[in-house]
Amino acid sequence: MSARSRIGAWLDERAGLDRVWQALFARHIPAIGPARGWLYVFGGTTLFVLLLQAFTGALLAMNYAPSPDHAYDALRYIESRVLLGRFIRAAHHWGANFTVVLISLHMLRTFLFGAFKFPREATWLTGVLLFFAVFAFAFTGYLLPWDQKAYWATVVGTNLAGELPLAGHAFELVLKGAPQLGAATLARFYAFHILWLPATAALLLGAHLFLVVWHGISQPPVRRNYPPDQPGWQDEYRRRYALAKEEGMPFFPNAVLMDIVACVLAVVLLTALALHYGAPLENPADPTDVSYNPRPAWYFLFLFEALKGFPGWLEPLAAVVLPGAALLALLLVPFLDRGSRRHPLDRPFWSGLGAAALAGLSALTIMGARSPLTNPEVRENQGIVEGKRLYRRLDCGYCHQVAGRGGKIGPALDKIAQPHPAPWLEAHFRNPQALVPGSVMPKLNLLPDEINALTAYVRLLEPKVSYTPRAPELFMANCAVCHTLDGKGGRVGPDLTHIGSVRGTGYLRRYIADPTRFYPNAVMPSFKNRLTEVQIEDIARFLKGPRRQPKKS
């Protein structure tokens, strides 16, 4: 005996591997034929993608904290600092989409082929429960990034659960874990997503796979070739199936190879999508934002769209009663569509109903995808978003004002007369006293990333200059002979450096055009005949400020 077969024999004696192999892989299945065989790969591919989800999910969990003040930063960390983090996250995101698509295709094939009928009713039941589990995975996983999409999708989703008649409010509270969506909700959803649901799904999957092997896979139906539809047709079905199995082929290698080829195709496509599109990560969740357009994932768009069509008093009907009835009907399919006929054309009522449901879902999904956005889409620069968060986190508002809110110890950041160039701000954040001796601003030991983010944000706050690049030249040519501005110019007339803080642009424009309107004895000449109106307006805006810092040579 060779070493290999000796090891094999040793293992077989201890673990019964040979019998496991016989039961799982060498078992006979009916011959399906190569063309229709490809319709049988969706179950195996769903299983494979689910396992892949467990794998990528376990990896992501290693760099995640289910807490509102850490979750989003953890996601950014995975995206930007962990080797292959962006790819693994994108693979998990696309894997979720693939699971939804594949399990739906698997269910559709089972429905069309009447494969849920005797003796596979329990297989269908466990399969539909797994289908629900996949959606529960999707719904709970959605919240975990704690970005805008996550937050608002969950607000809508949990409120929807609150529409449940009678116990709605209690149900919503149990789902959220607290009256408002927050820390308890996130921890709860995380526990659902990584503990309760995987455990439930594993049990269901075990039962489902056992039943698949126990009953063997169904044959593709042949039209009008059924046991006569009378009591006891099940025995005839069993007899024919046993015969087909005997004439069929072993599960391995043909059927297994097809499954694996389908898995390879799925992985290639998934990798391409993950590499090309990545996974979306929006701005951090902001419960006060009124400019966001909440939209669910594409597989919930049908519900999103359907809800628009119902008036308030019928809301529970659209939100809970109808979807609930549909799910119940899906679960009960084997007990509704009975009899021995399996080909979709031989059971027109149920095929028609299935097709109508599918068409309705598709139409609602397309309408939902096309529904116009209420708010204009704003894409904020990532650095600015980070800067804004840091501003809040460091409590800069204790000393500084923005939009009239905050302390008065430091300057109001949106009213600074002279905007600072980025290098100045960066140096200032690094060491305030070095640039502004005597400044009371503390040295914060900020990290380089933080300095860049704060600089981006403060630059955004600063008032924008409104004059043209010609304005400084116009001032130098016409006004600087008599007036000083920012330390340069003549001393015949008053220093105009701070004129912008006491006079408006309109006043300045009228004054430049004709000073005698204000002071009949003004020494300053009238400029309305020397400069165009546009030029006068330009100088007025330049004086009003804020002015760009002159570039250092």
Binding site: L59, H70, Y77, I88, L257, C263, V264
Partner: protein, 167 residues
């Protein structure tokens, strides 16, 4: 003449089985290697730390190691945390400084300077170091780790991660 296509024992079923097994192995290897790289990535990461201002040069006593505590703002994975850190600083002329990592080189316990014995004593396994960081007794495998130091405008700056070359 030799048969150019000698009969082999590979059947169609055997070949398909081999193909299925190879594809499955390739899938597993592809997913596994990505996951492994992600899992092992902390081993390849190089943390870049910044100079931290820890004290005024004149505040450090001459001749004896002094524990200097300072606040350090640093990246902790996805957090930025501000925490207290410390180092044992030794200077004899306020121009040259040694800043020791405050952990024993044996297993990282926090040692202290004993003024009576003029030695660093580790409370865990009996490690003893001289003022210059040399191992005098106990199990430590190497002298005390040192932080890079520099003096700027009368302030002492350190990078509080032991440089690998200095171990």
């Amino acid at each position: 003449m030799d048969d150019p296509f000698p009969e082999t024992t590979v059947t169609r079923r055997g070949f398909l089985g081999l193909l299925a097994g190879s594809l499955a192995a390739a899938l597993g290897a592809a997913a596994g290697s990505c996951g492994l790289a992600y899992f092992l990535s902390p081993a390849f990461s190089r943390e870049k730390d910044e100079w931290v201002d820890i004290a005024g040069v004149d505040d450090i006593p001459l001749g004896a190691p002094t524990e200097v505590k300072f606040t350090q703002r640093r990246r902790d994975a996805w957090l930025v945390a501000e925490g207290l850190a410390s180092t044992w600083v030794l200077t004899r002329d306020r121009a040259h400084f040694i800043a020791y990592d405050p952990h024993c080189t044996h297993l990282g316990c926090p040692y202290r300077w004993s003024r009576t014995r003029n030695e660093f004593l580790c409370p865990c396994h009996g490690g003893v170091f001289s003022m210059d960081g040399k191992v005098l007794a106990g199990p430590p495998p190497r002298p005390l780790d040192r932080y890079p130091t520099k003096v700027e405008a009368g302030r002492l700056l350190v990078i509080p991660l032991p440089a690998r070359g200095m171990r």
